[in-house]
């Protein structure tokens, strides 16, 4: 038998995928078995029969997996529930937090709005892909080299305590969405101050909001927003609103909304140089009144919704 026969190539493809100490024995047995089958089908020549018999033996990867008693799945049924659950937590809870942190860092570095948005998208894609890739790799290795079957797999035991709250998924999405909006406002405020994105015809760079605020009312506004972001993260991590969390949420919202309404009401909001460069634009009184009331109304509504979720 020359090494180039179909049988020889087939046997080689099978045994190179099984443990080295069994290779010679399995190869010898496979050769004999295939030859026996071919002889029985076609005692004279060895034309079509060899091809037919090898076709029936099937894909060498599949046969090798059977010989090595190895699963034909990257992640089998034992590990699948733990894998899916962990992937969900990583992508739905950890990824948004990582993205918000990277956005805040970019904003503090004074990057332009376009660069910040681009970097945020890049973070979502690369960090998300890393989460998926590494988690899959770890679970595939556990599947391949971990204990086969048996109750010894701690990850497999499930109790009803792990059931999520019935209303959880909707309120969780809302919490993540609210968190993202708060983080965006926080980022924009810091960004317009550090990057001074508005450039006058004379080449002078201006911030949009009144710089004088940074010696006064801006700090409670920022503290309130930061508090809202942190509470949103805590809510996502714990899975529901607790009494202290709702109380802190209301306090943080008040810390943000009351000074913000005051800033708007007393017309300290925009940088006067910025308004002047826009052509001496004077916003009507109604703008400030409506915006101030709008901020209060949105915050009150948010607190009301959280209290309802908490009591539900």
């Amino acid at each position: 038998m020359t090494p180039t026969t179909l049988t020889e190539r087939y046997v080689h493809e099978v045994v190179r995928r099984i443990p080295a100490d069994q290779r010679d024995d399995v190869a010898a047995e496979l050769r004999a078995t295939i030859a026996d089958t071919i002889d029985a089908r076609d005692p004279d020549g060895r034309g079509a029969a060899e091809r037919e018999v090898l076709t029936e033996m099937g894909d060498p990867i599949r046969l090798a997996a059977r010989y090595a008693d190895r699963p034909l799945a990257l992640i089998g049924p034992d590990l699948y529930p733990a894998y899916i659950r962990l992937l969900g937590v990583l992508l739905a809870a950890v990824l948004p937090v990582v993205t918000v942190i990277s956005v805040v860092v970019d904003v503090l570095d004074g990057d332009s709005l376009g660069a910040v948005i681009g970097a945020a998208l890049g973070t979502v894609l690369t960090v998300g892909a890393q989460f998926i890739a590494w988690l899959t790799l770890v679970f595939a290795l556990a599947e391949r080299f971990g204990k086969r079957r048996g109750a010894a797999r701690g990850a497999g035991s499930w109790t009803p305590d792990q059931l999520p709250e019935a209303a959880d998924s909707g309120s969780r999405t809302a919490a993540i969405g609210g968190l993202a909006v708060d983080a965006l406002i926080l980022g924009l405020i810091v960004w317009q101050h550090t990057a001074k994105p508005y450039v006058t015809d004379g080449g002078e760079r201006l911030s949009v909001l009144d710089p004088a605020l940074w010696t006064g009312w801006m700090w409670p506004v920022l503290a309130g927003l930061a508090g809202l972001v942190v509470l949103g993260v805590l809510r996502t991590a714990t899975g529901r609103w607790t009494t202290p969390l709702v109380a802190a949420y209301a306090a943080a919202n008040a810390l943000f909304a009351l000074p913000m309404a005051w800033i708007l009401h007393s017309r300290q909001f925009f940088d006067s140089d910025f308004l002047a460069d826009l052509g001496g634009l004077v916003a009507p009184d109604a703008f400030y009144t409506v915006t101030a009331l709008g901020v209060l109304a949105v915050s009150a509504h948010d607190v009301y919704k959280r209290v309802r979720e908490w009591r539900a």
Binding site: D25, A28, A32, D36, A40, R66, Y67
Partner: protein
């Protein structure tokens, strides 16, 4: 899936475990892979080679079969036979099988 396909799939599920029992029963006499496959298929226990050959090795690894290379003929072949432990397992499995047959026939008679 038609009802005919459904029946074929379910019948395959029913047969799956019987191959091991049939091997343990037949290998009271030493036998090599291909001959065993033929005997099983002639006896109505249909099984493919790519299932049977790895199964024999697995049973050997579990200690239910022993094996020996026979080099008397021009083509060396690996012969399997039941180990003492394999005989005990077979006796238990045969009892399980009879219990199953009894239970199912009682159930299907009442139905």
């Amino acid at each position: 899936m038609t009802s005919e396909e459904l029946i074929l799939t379910q019948a395959q599920e029913l047969r799956r475990g019987t191959v091991v029992l049939a091997c343990l029963a037949l290998l009271e006499e030493p036998q090599y892979g291909y001959a065993l496959l033929e005997t099983l298929n002639d006896a109505g226990v249909t099984v493919d080679g790519n299932t049977l050959y790895p199964l024999l090795r697995r049973l050997e690894k579990q200690g239910l079969l022993t094996s020996e290379w026979n080099t008397d003929e021009s083509r060396p072949r690996k012969f399997y036979r039941v180990s003492p432990e394999g005989s005990q397992v077979r006796a238990r499995l045969v009892r399980e099988w009879r219990d199953l047959v009894t239970s199912i026939s009682r159930l299907t008679k009442e139905a």
